[in-house]
């Protein structure tokens, strides 16, 4: 496969991994967000937790693998974004600390304070990372203040607080609402009675919130945000060298791809349609269909961000030519090809055994079941 094709394939694959993360880890993070509010007593909370107990760890690997794949496929993005967003990354990381120990340690001690502390820990572990990832996307869309020197050492000149600008916070809301919807739709499939009633309510509210905030962000991007355009000739097969290009900033540039490629409009349209479908199916008590709808919505929302910015991944607001794109922030031809091979071999296997694991554990998790299996469940 030629280098240009591989570069484009990896843009798609990173997208697939992020969508996989939003669908899979998203539903157990969404559970964490809802946990303290939907579960009114210890048994109810344990029922919620045990819907994801056998799966959260495998789901989290979508996140880990997305990180590893970005390192392997886009080393400059991994290096520049992770070090530039230093405090944001630390906050996400520390929030994630609460999940493994929250899940595994919470029910090992009976003390109510202990348990409710970990419930809030699971809330933090579920809510903070999606907010931060949303805020990060919001900043990528606006461009980030960094530049490279001649030896390609990056310097980030912004502050942590500058990341928390209004548009980025709106993106954070989109992300949190979308993940919470995903969690609520999953819980609808695995709970019954009061819990089911409450998570269905949450599903309706958060799907609507996702829809509105996503629409708002779209208008904002079209009207008020500067996009970026490569103004030099692009040799997509060239060795990656970000500093070899010239880039201009222009308002509304993030809309270019939609005017240039008619099919691109389908990505946000699918996102809106899928969110509407999620609301519809929740109303109709079709939990499974609602879950698939919100999963598709995740793909549409993440895809919209990607398509709007293409070929940019991380534009630089202070030194536009340092911007990172799918053509010049990537690994070598050999590494991209090799990683594609590994993905083609392992991804179907992963999907196969993950599906099997869900099939084995499938069914409603009830408070009666928790009480009867006190020693062996979370």
């Amino acid at each position: 496969m030629d280098y240009e094709t591989l570069k484009l394939v990896w843009w798609l694959l990173v997208g697939v991994l992020l969508v996989g993360f939003a669908i899979m880890d998203g539903h157990d993070m969404g559970m964490g967000v809802l946990l303290p509010f939907v579960g009114r007593n210890d048994l109810e909370r344990r029922a919620l937790i045990n819907t994801v107990a056998p799966h959260w760890d495998g789901n989290q690997v979508w996140f880990i693998t997305a990180g590893g794949a970005i390192f392997a496929a886009w080393p400059l993005v991994y290096a520049t974004a992770f070090s530039g967003f230093y405090w944001a990354m630390m906050a996400a990381l520390w929030a994630l600390f609460f999940r493994p120990v929250g899940f595994d340690y919470r029910s090992k001690i009976q003390n109510p304070t202990w348990r409710s502390t970990w419930d809030w820990g699971l809330f933090i572990g579920g809510a903070v990372p999606p907010i931060i990832f949303g805020v990060a996307f919001g900043n990528l869309l606006q461009g980030v203040p960094f530049h490279f020197n001649d030896l390609m050492m990056s310097t980030y000149t912004g502050s942590f607080w500058a990341l928390l600008n209004p548009f980025a916070l709106l993106a954070g809301v989109v992300s949190l609402a979308m993940i919470t919807t995903q969690g609520a739709n999953y819980l609808m499939m695995r709970t019954e009675g009061d819990l089911y009633r409450r998570v269905r309510g949450a599903s309706l509210i958060f799907a609507a919130l996702t829809l509105v905030s996503f629409a708002l962000a779209g208008v904002w991007v079209a009207q008020g945000i500067d996009g970026y355009v490569i103004t030099s000739a692009v040799d997509a097969n060239a060795l990656p060298d970000p500093l070899a290009k010239t880039v201009e900033v222009s308002t509304g540039a993030w809309m270019h791809n939609y005017t240039q490629y008619a099919w691109a409009m389908w990505v946000p349209i699918v996102a809106f349609a899928a969110l509407a479908a999620s609301i519809l199916f929740s109303r109709l008590h079709q939990a499974g269909a609602a879950f698939w709808s919100s999963s598709i919505a995740n793909a549409g929302i993440i895809g919209t961000a990607g398509v709007s910015m293409f070929p940019f991944i991380m534009p630089s607001s202070t030194d536009p030519r340092s911007s990172l794109t799918v053509y010049d922030a990537v690994s070598s031809h050999l590494t991209l090809g090799l990683m594609l091979g590994a993905t083609v071999i392992f991804m179907p296997l992963i999907i196969f055994y993950t599906s099997w694991a869900y099939k084995v554990m499938w069914g409603k998790v009830t408070t009666e079941y928790i009480a009867a299996n006190d020693k062996s469940v979370y």
Partner: protein, 530 residues
């Protein structure tokens, strides 16, 4: 500006988080296979006590595993957050095994650990056994891939520098996978994990035997741990020797520092058992040596010599001087890719590019480096001797003590009278922490011994870091220390609580402390009920 303070803090944070992560890894690696052995015995014999063993040791496995996962995420983030230039410079090679680790190993391990804990009632016993096997295979495969990545840091083969992309690029994936350094590290590291887990099971079983409780359960656990531990302790030493051989091939400076060998000695070199290394005077104030042994370990011959520190420094001085040419030519090339003269100069000297970059610690413009700076860079190429010398010796001594302990444990297991050997049971109990100490010392030797490089001979540590401020690092370091201390307290508390409670924590009603009340609710388990 990359200050020394920033670099030291970045190194400290990495060391703290990596050593902390490795408190949990070895037990996972080894206990997973011990669970496989116990469960295999269960599916063959169909005796419920073996199922109880899997479930009880599995509980402790889970408590440990949770923190392994927690602290593992840090490692995945940290290359990007704190070692940005490193990530750019070698991501083309280093990122691949990490991503494959996720795809091949983490998914497997993490998906099946869920079924391991929650699938007992939903899977038949063979299916559950397969789940346990896949979990164990997954966790050990993850060790394989991360050690392939680490092996490449120690011995960077199968890659080449490109001045256009300003980074190392992969040229031969299979050379990186089958790198002898990586393979030796992998088998040595997983064996160390098996020793750790064996001693953990052996020690806790000894505790029950000393207390005279859960005898049947403890006796069977003890036997399995003794057998597995003996084989592992043997292999950790043999494969450690293999590691020593690959180090002497690829990292002579590390070898010389470990051995406090200042001068090149006539072959075969003597092994120094004890010494007081004097860094300033470049000699040992006192030493006790066994003739020939080091030469045999390091070269596996009687005639090859191992270079001493002074000789290595002299060679490195030449490489640094040549490296200056490489850096100067590279900087010209970066400004103008078509500069043919600079290109020719660079091609002639690029093998020493990394050595030239060592001077970046002292001056931005390497061509202006003074003789004093060059001398400092030369001195930097040898890691500090005393910490390596002693870490290595302590690790090796512990390794041999494990072998002795497991030899006794196995011997008396076969004879069947180990319950009477109180001294052995006490030794096993009090020795539980020792494999961790040995493993951490092993990492100190491997990584501290790699200094001043992150990628040996290619990329100096000093320029590998992210361009942050020391303030950033003080803040994040404080955060890690705070979180990790709290988590360790919680983990140790739970581990001790469940280990003390023993198999009664399963709530089967069959074990120590459970029959006391005679009611439906066993006393030992009461504290655990909702």
């Amino acid at each position: 500006m990359l200050t020394e303070e920033l670099v030291d803090l970045s190194r400290l944070q990495f060391a703290v988080t990596a050593l902390y992560h490795f408190l949990f890894v070895p037990l996972t690696l080894g206990l997973a296979f011990i669970l496989v052995i116990m469960e295999l015995t269960y599916v063959i014999t169909d005796r419920p006590i073996y199922k109880d063993m899997v479930r009880f040791w599995g509980k402790l496995f889970g408590i440990n595993f949770a923190l392994g996962v927690t602290t593992g995420i840090t490692m995945e983030f940290q290359f990007g957050t704190n070692w940005a230039y490193y990530s750019h410079y070698v991501g083309d090679i280093f990122g691949a095994p990490l991503a494959i680790e996720g795809l091949m190993a983490f998914f497997l391990e993490s998906t099946f650990i869920g079924l391991f804990f929650f699938g007992w009632d939903r899977l038949n016993k063979w299916q559950h056994f397969m789940v346990t096997v896949l979990m164990a295979v997954g966790s050990n495969l993850s060790a394989l891939w991360i050690l392939i990545a680490n092996g490449w840091m120690q011995d960077p083969i199968g890659a080449e520098f490109s001045f256009v992309t300003m980074r190392m690029e992969m040229t031969d994936f299979w050379a990186i996978v089958f790198n002898p350094t990586a393979q030796a590290k992998f088998v040595h590291t997983v064996s160390a994990g098996y020793v750790t887990a064996s001693l953990f099971v052996l020690g806790i079983s000894s505790y029950y035997l000393l207390k005279g409780r859960d005898l049947d359960f403890a006796r069977r656990s003890f036997r399995i741990a003794a057998g597995f531990g003996f084989a592992s302790a043997l292999s950790v030493i043999v494969l450690g020797d293999e590691s020593g051989y690959t180090v002497s091939e690829s990292q002579q400076a590390k070898m010389a520092a470990i051995e406090a060998m200042w001068e090149t000695e006539p072959a075969p070199a003597a092994f120094t058992v004890f010494a007081l290394p004097n860094e300033a005077a470049q000699r040992n104030d006192y030493e006790l040596q066994i003739p020939y042994v080091l030469g045999l370990i390091g070269t596996r011959s009687l005639t090859e010599t191992l270079p001493g520190i002074k000789e290595i420094k002299a060679r490195n001085r030449e490489r640094i001087e040549n490296g200056i040419q490489a850096v100067v030519a590279l900087e010209k090339l970066r400004k103008n890719h078509g500069d043919e003269l600079a290109r020719a100069q660079f091609e002639a000297s690029k093998a020493d590019l990394g050595f030239g970059l060592l001077l970046k610690k002292y001056t931005v413009d390497v061509s202006q480096a003074t003789p004093a700076m060059i001398q400092q860079a030369v001195d930097d190429t040898i890691p500090r001797v005393a910490p390596l010398f002693w870490s290595f010796r302590l690790m090796v001594a512990l390794g041999f003590l494990f072998l002795v302990l497991f030899s006794f444990a196995l011997f008396y297991s076969v004879k069947g009278n180990f319950i009477e050997k109180k001294w052995l049971l006490r030794w096993a109990l009090w020795f539980i922490p020792m494999p961790w100490i040995a493993a951490e010392l092993g990492w100190v030797v491997a990584e501290y011994g790699r200094q001043p490089w992150t990628i040996y001979g290619v990329l100096p540590t000093h320029i590998s870091v992210s361009n942050l401020t020391p303030g950033n690092l003080y803040g994040s370091l404080a955060g890690f220390v705070g979180f990790y201390t709290a988590l360790l307290i919680v983990e140790m508390y739970l581990m001790t609580k469940y280990a003390r409670q023993g198999p009664a924590s399963l709530g089967t009603g069959k074990y120590h402390g459970e029959k006391a009340t005679g009611g439906a609710l066993p006393a030992g388990a009461a504290a655990d009920k909702i």
